[in-house]
Symmetry: C2
Subunit: 194 residues, 2 copies
């Protein structure tokens, strides 16, 4: 038993996320996908309201006062297999559920609009405690969100995530091969629209 | 003649850009398109390298030192009619040509990658002196870019823009109805791939 435990720890050290944040994992994976010509997907820059900029002579402009703005859309978008891809990435420390307060109404609305226009939309959720990553289709997210609006649960239980999401296993390169799950999602969407 | 001149000035005052920048025109148009459920296209936030942030008690975090980063992609992307849309917007004061130094190599490469994945890619160019706006397909931009790399002209002449681009006329709402030109571009791309 002791030996097995050690072996398992070594494996997760080799293929695990090595203390990277979910965003770092996704960014590295996007770079790998881009380099191989698989997909063009980028993290959008953090929106910042710039108030004051100094222009010192002979050196770069310095932003001296700025504020973080609330993002009106999602973290990532791009193109894959001719499809418009749009998603949000979220981590939770919880072992039992994913809190819906992680989303803002306008992010949900943005995803709804993209789905209407035939975009492939989802959330990538990491349960940090288990180092487990899931791709939850936007359609499932909308159901939990709408239920909450109608007095339902304020979070999605771990069991419901397991039931409704596709699990993404860590790999070597790309570190987080989430487009494998996107392939399955595209199949599901195409089948359900026939 | 005098009368005609006045009439024309009045028209361009009514439907012109009223001193707005090209980006402001496009942003307002994107908002109009989004509200009507026509398309979901957004300007990406300006990429900023944040160095120092203060967290005053009881008020919002203040960015005290940050620098502008060079954009690795383009200004705008989103979804329209199920297509991934990706474009750059540029203004020029020149009356005779559009300088290619307005682009960085990695922006051209980004557009090339998006075209490979079947994205609808282009540049919106405004000749400020004439208040004229054009949609130049990425395929045409690549030709001028590659020619320049091989010792060709460092700019695209106004005549070549007129020949290769689709002109966009100002309207009331959306102020800059550039998706009409995108419809034509999609037709051209679909016809040439058959
Ligand atoms: Mg996030
Ligand atoms: Mg621009």
């Amino acid at each position: 038993i002791q030996n097995n435990k050690i072996k398992k720890d070594k494996q997760s050290m080799t293929f695990g996320n090595r203390g990277m944040t979910l965003e770092e994992d996704i960014n590295a994976s996007n770079e790998a996908y881009n380099l191989r010509g698989v997909a063009v997907i980028h993290k959008k820059p953090t929106p910042v309201q710039i108030v004051q900029v100094d222009y010192p002579s002979r050196s770069a402009a310095v932003i001296k006062e700025a504020y973080f703005k609330q993002a009106s859309t999602t973290d990532y978008n791009g193109i894959y297999r001719g499809y418009y891809i749009d998603f949000e990435a979220k981590e939770t420390q919880s072992k039992t559920s994913f809190p819906l307060k992680n989303f803002h109404e306008h992010q949900i609305n943005h995803l709804r609009n993209c789905v209407t226009h035939k975009g492939i939309c989802f959330v990538i959720i990491r349960f940090t405690a288990f180092n487990q990553v899931f791709l939850l289709p936007a359609s499932a997210l909308f159901q939990f969100w709408d239920a909450q609006q109608n007095g339902g649960k304020k979070s999605i239980s771990y069991q419901d995530i397991q039931k409704n999401a596709l699990e993404i296993s860590y790999g070597f390169s790309p570190r987080l091969p989430y487009l494998d799950a996107v392939d399955k999602l595209i199949l599901q969407i195409e089948e359900s629209s026939n």
